[in-house]
Assembly symmetry: C2
Homo-oligomer: 491 residues x 2
Amino acid sequence: MMEPQENTNDDTAPSPAPPPLPRERIPVQKGSVCSRSYFMVVMVFFHVYVLNVIALLLYVHYNSGSEEGRSSRDFSSRSSGHKVAEPLDTQPPDPGFTRKMHLPRLEGIRVGHVQKVSLVPGKVHEMKTLSLKPLLFEIPHFLSDEECAVVMRLAQLKGLMESQVMVPEGQEELNQQLNLSPEEIFHLLDLNQDGQLQQHEILTHSRVRDGIWLTPENLREIYAGLNADQDGNGLLSLEEFGQLSSDAFQRFLFQRGVKRSQLVRNSRHTWLYQGQGAHQVLRELRNRVMRLTRLPPSLVELSEPLQVVRYEQGGHYHAHHDSGPVYPETTCTHTLLAANTTSPFQTSCRYITVLFYLNNVEEGGETTFPVADNRTYEEVSLIQNDVDLLDTRRHCDKGNLRVKPTRGTAVFWYNYLSDGRGWVGEQDEYSLHGGCVVTRGIKWVANNWINVDPDYHRQARYQQLVSQPEETQDPQTDTNPEQYTDTHQDL
Amino acid sequence: MMEPQENTNDDTAPSPAPPPLPRERIPVQKGSVCSRSYFMVVMVFFHVYVLNVIALLLYVHYNSGSEEGRSSRDFSSRSSGHKVAEPLDTQPPDPGFTRKMHLPRLEGIRVGHVQKVSLVPGKVHEMKTLSLKPLLFEIPHFLSDEECAVVMRLAQLKGLMESQVMVPEGQEELNQQLNLSPEEIFHLLDLNQDGQLQQHEILTHSRVRDGIWLTPENLREIYAGLNADQDGNGLLSLEEFGQLSSDAFQRFLFQRGVKRSQLVRNSRHTWLYQGQGAHQVLRELRNRVMRLTRLPPSLVELSEPLQVVRYEQGGHYHAHHDSGPVYPETTCTHTLLAANTTSPFQTSCRYITVLFYLNNVEEGGETTFPVADNRTYEEVSLIQNDVDLLDTRRHCDKGNLRVKPTRGTAVFWYNYLSDGRGWVGEQDEYSLHGGCVVTRGIKWVANNWINVDPDYHRQARYQQLVSQPEETQDPQTDTNPEQYTDTHQDL
């Protein structure tokens, strides 16, 4: 239709390109004003505008590039975390180290320190430091009584199964698979390499291997029944050990019968999914855990479901680590698909344990941290002849720290140290803990574990792998925190 | 001159205000094109441009507003410090709390952890965690042998004075000033309020009050000499105490003579200024401390000068805290001018101690941390009848941690905890330390203390107060890190 008119006018006087001055002052010739000069003004404005927008966008990009996107689902989320500021010309010692995600770690300050945390809109919780080794906190009233009741009901509806079966399977095959001579087994068991098997060397082994919790008394009974300790010095020499068959202890115990109280773990449990479509209380619980731990939502969402555990009277869980040590060959159960390798060392890589007490226990059932804030951690000194600190049926009172179960209270701790660069480092051995025997009543707890691969790149690969299909899922996602908060208030 | 032409054209056809469409499609009448329509286009572009610039500037401002300006001399410097990222809708629990400066705190991770630090251009130092309570690090080769020699020579040139004089002054006046009855004094000394004065109650008091380090044997000697403990049970009752004059112990010791080895501190020291005009080695030392601690330069520059200490053979420093506990009334020596109040509780507010070993000691002279990483800190259990953990002449071997002096090595620790919000919190009682007796040779050390007022606003006022005159000083300031680094390389 209408065309611009720049070419319809005579272009007689060459006018120099004017600076972008205010329009009123442009020295234009009256005759050619309309087409040429106005066009130039428009063009100058247009170009200045475009250039300024580009410059500002670049400025925005480079200024916020290192801080944007704190809480996003994807792995590119960053948070300044607990990394200290780089001052002056101090460069990070490892310049090749560039990670997009840093895991914040709460500050314990000192035992007994109380800090306020915001977990539920309009409410402030108090979080108390119980120990620094492990970094352990207690938050009373984390769950309301109604929420505790809902979780227990949901677990009962789903049905609970034995946490540990009486007779472990697959042990015989492993023995055959490894194909070790009695002499080789002897040297593996002989931790201090003194040529004799002390009681605690046998005890440690049987607990790990068979899941049967032998006490020194049990062991003496077995020695007597099998006539194993022929010189009666309480130790097994290589000669004495060689005369036993590889499953002699197990067969002896079988014949005599193994009670549930003789297992490492004596409880029933189930798993409750917390993602889309799950009960509102379970999803809210996960959101609260996100706010508490301040970890990226993507990490929390991809972690194990909620484990609900019921201990009957007499139930217990001897002291253990929720997740194992990290060696170069270790792989995590949750990132195994992305690992591209198979490894005989596999662990659950539970960076954080959040433990919820769902009811008040009449008597017993404390959570014990036998070596919390100990000056040193020595595995061999845990089991002594008179006191076995791992035994939560007998020696809970000898440990350093015990938490009494109180309905609605949450405790949480880090099973791994920081690596000093904002990621998961070594296992924190001090995180050793157990459930003391329930002497009266029933005990209900739930566990939320947050799984993080200590290998940053493997975690990144894993999250990329699993996050892509999820994009195309049901748009009724519950990851919008605002929507979530509103729903919670309606509850 | 030239006037805009909007009124020179006939405005016959009223054209409706067009939407800001691409220029070619504006439906203008050919006759009035030049003036009116072009003007509108220009105006639309201009307004869009201005609005966009404003919007982008606002965006930039609110995005980078919380992270800019990390290391500046003034108190407005920010650093993300060790503050954890605020996730999702979790607000800081105390919204009224706004501070401009955060103090970064290094991560200890675990005892034995080694991290690399960059302190000198082109060189990497290793920093090893020695304990977490207190947060304590060791950095070998922090100083070169030549630098150690320079510091010792400078101290000798300036001249050293006794760290503690034999007879403390001003005690008598204080006693009179307070005007306490013997009964009142008795109850102050009776820490456990059992109506009797135990040995350790007397010992603790005499060390703090007189600076004389009594041992249980000394005390028995004094009791016998003064016939103080008439019933011979090793305790002083109120009756027995009332029969002694207020300075009876002191006068008894005077008559018998006090040896230097009986003082809390047996050494000589001097102070070396590290600011403008100071020896290059001393200034470089301060810069290295800045890089090590990552604290704002302004804090480090306004701290105490370097203290150089010489222990002769037989010299010692019994276990003590470098800085006292923080009560609401406590004021810091360094911010006293800005405090506007006088307070009987005054301490040096030494947030960090950096201790340099300037020579190798032939035997003894270790730095002891008797309760490092202890599970608990109980003041009363430090002095027992058989072992006094504070006594560095007798019981250095009983403490938890000892650092052997090695020329050029630095150790540093925090005397205060974090407050959890990026500032100085409570005293870390575990920072208790002392210098073990030098059994052979001479020991040279130097101390750098970094003074920070636990009251943030008092520190801020103080820095504003003292930083203003400094601006007008000699422009040859040595705070430019680049210039500094160059000079160092020329050294």
